[in-house]
Symmetry: C2
Subunit: 372 residues, 2 copies
């Protein structure tokens, strides 16, 4: 067979602090590479086709200049973008992997890849990096996932049945200490993580307040069972929270003003779970919002827990993969996905996901390569 196109999306150059990534500048589609699927050497590995890519907010932090210290390993400029992906095995020289297998884990943003992917993988020596910098390439090696056989769409492994679902599930189970009748506030409640938290909270018998940035997202949150969904762009945190609080659990996906308002409206002995702070992923350090209500920590005897999913998932993974796909099939847990068609749409999908700006329903952004 002759070589065929193997398009990719390259992380072309670092995004300055405080700036937004720009399509065509930082994320560049390149349709020129080719691959011969029959003859490409596997070197003991296996060849995959990417079916779905999963743009997620944490990736923004990896798109920095590599000299800026942070918690994640920076991606390699000039190499393909990396994220969780759903892959299908085409050929294999590796035991345990055979043609037709479905995998979920970290991979290149390119159509076909010889695994383990190498081009965007750093030769990692922890001693060269701050102790708190984690090598993201090391986590989430592609693992087998069962074929849902039509019981739910395969791409839900990039959503409620994958990393975002696991993030919500593990952190809620570990930190929320949810009690029936308590009140939770979830920011970015229409996001992949937020929408799962809303549903876990309802299953625990909690009253749920949740914020998002458009009226259609408000309706989406309501459809998930949220008791008090609101649009923070038209109704302020300071108006809603005193009225419907106090809050026993705050699940933070946003940071900044949302976190500050939550602190002011917690109940005594409340718990705050800090999952992410998407409001400031594109903000320079000096321009960040300053939290003024930290004194509520002692005044209200609060506990606040920050986490990164890879460090807490292990204890919950077995139960998650046992329970959640079943709950999805049975309709106990719902999720929506916003599908972008084709690899060429991936840069746009990523930036739109970060901006959260489309005025349609919420849900997890997924890029589909199924038809390529």
């Amino acid at each position: 067979m002759a070589p065929i196109p193997n398009p990719r999306v390259v992380f072309a150059k670092p995004v300055p602090q405080g700036a937004w990534p720009i399509v065509g500048e930082h994320l560049v589609y390149d349709g020129t590479p080719t691959i011969d699927l029959d003859t490409v050497p596997l070197n003991g590995g296996f060849l995959t086709k990417a079916l779905y890519l999963s743009p997620e907010p944490y990736i923004r932090e990896r798109m920095r200049d590599e000299h800026i210290a942070s918690y994640s390993s920076p991606m390699i400029a000039g190499a393909p973008m990396v994220s969780a992906c759903i892959l299908k095995v085409l050929r294999s020289e590796k035991e345990g992997f055979k043609a037709g297998d479905l995998l979920y884990g970290m991979s290149h943003w390119e159509l076909y890849t010889v695994q383990p992917y190498m081009e965007a993988r750093r030769k990692w020596n922890q001693a060269d990096w701050p102790a708190w910098t984690a090598n993201i390439d090391d986590i989430g090696n592609p693992n087998q996932v069962p074929d849902p056989n039509g019981a739910f769409p395969l791409y839900k492994y990039c959503s409620v049945a994958g990393a975002p679902g696991m993030t919500a599930y593990a952190s809620f189970k570990k930190y929320a200490d949810a009690k029936k009748g308590e009140t939770i506030f979830v920011s970015a409640g229409a996001s992949a993580v937020g929408s799962m938290v809303i549903q876990l909270a309802k299953l625990s018998g909690m009253k749920v307040i949740a914020s998002a940035g458009s009226d259609s997202k408000v309706e989406y949150m309501r459809s998930l069972g949220c008791d008090v969904p609101f649009n923070y762009k038209t109704t302020s945190y300071k108006e809603i929270l005193p009225k419907h609080g106090p809050i026993d659990v705050y699940y933070d996906n946003v940071g900044a003003e949302a976190l500050d308002a939550a602190l002011e409206n917690m109940a005594r002995f409340g718990r705050l779970i800090i999952c992410g702070q998407v409001a400031e992923y594109n903000t320079a350090p000096e321009d960040r919002y300053g939290i003024k209500n930290s004194s509520m920590m002692y005044k209200l005897c609060l506990s606040m827990y920050g986490f990164l999913t890879p460090f807490i998932a292990a204890d919950y993974a077995a139960k998650f993969y046992e329970d959640v796909p079943k709950m999805v099939v049975e309709g106990q847990i719902k999720s929506e996905e916003r599908i972008y068609e084709g690899l060429e749409s991936a840069p746009e999908a990523f930036v739109e996901m970060l901006r959260g700006g489309w005025d349609v329903a919420g849900g997890k952004v997924v890029v589909s390569l199924v038809n390529q």
Copy 2:
């Protein structure tokens, strides 16, 4: 016996938010009341003489206008100040209390008091107050303390062997998860609580960094075993912490800039214990320092615990009263106190304590009425 003077210090009127209490305006010495110790009716209670008063930072919050909601019950304007005190029983009609007994607990700032003190005690109905407002008058009823018989000065029950010592002890045991070789940073390390935390940390085999506001306090912290004591007024947090960190545990008595700098210099999986934030007790809400490093909560997988001593002390009280007085006698735990002589000095002692501004050694401020 004829009536004798029974001087008092009155909480004359609320202190505005963002302002400092002023001697003679908010705290007013009144030498005119009298009492007949032989004939004053006890009504089934008991008569005490105050030996020592214990001005402490949390009292500032109680000196507000009672219409401003907060975690502590506001004191009653016009009634005596209330704090932890060491008392001696003179006469008693109550079982379990006899003349000569020594007590430690909440009482009026006056020389002689019929217990339970009533004038500054609110008729408390929790339903009239926000759920998170605790009635401070209800905690710390005067309890018997053993006479140290000269093994240590009695006033240490207002210091390392009393509420400040217990605050440090219970919170450190409950939240620090201290491991040998780890690093702790203690702000206000020369304070009553901070100096105890330094010593508990050293006994746990930790490296201790601690800040205070004068060079003599730096020397005091060094004498307690602190490895890296520094004067934050002449050496910035941002200079010391990156050099001597990262920090596994941060013990916060200060808030504001100290908390923000600590967040930026934590180690992964670090713990932050929020005991108090004295930097902002006299700051209006809108003028508070804004914390910009809350994202370190998830980036470093941090846990932050706020607490109020009455809610955590019970589990640690027995062990505290068994261990700490003994450790004080044996010199394993040291403390310094700054004694103000006479009730008339109490207003000044309180304001000085809040300002932490004297340029002598640190230590707990105590007002002695022993010679009155």
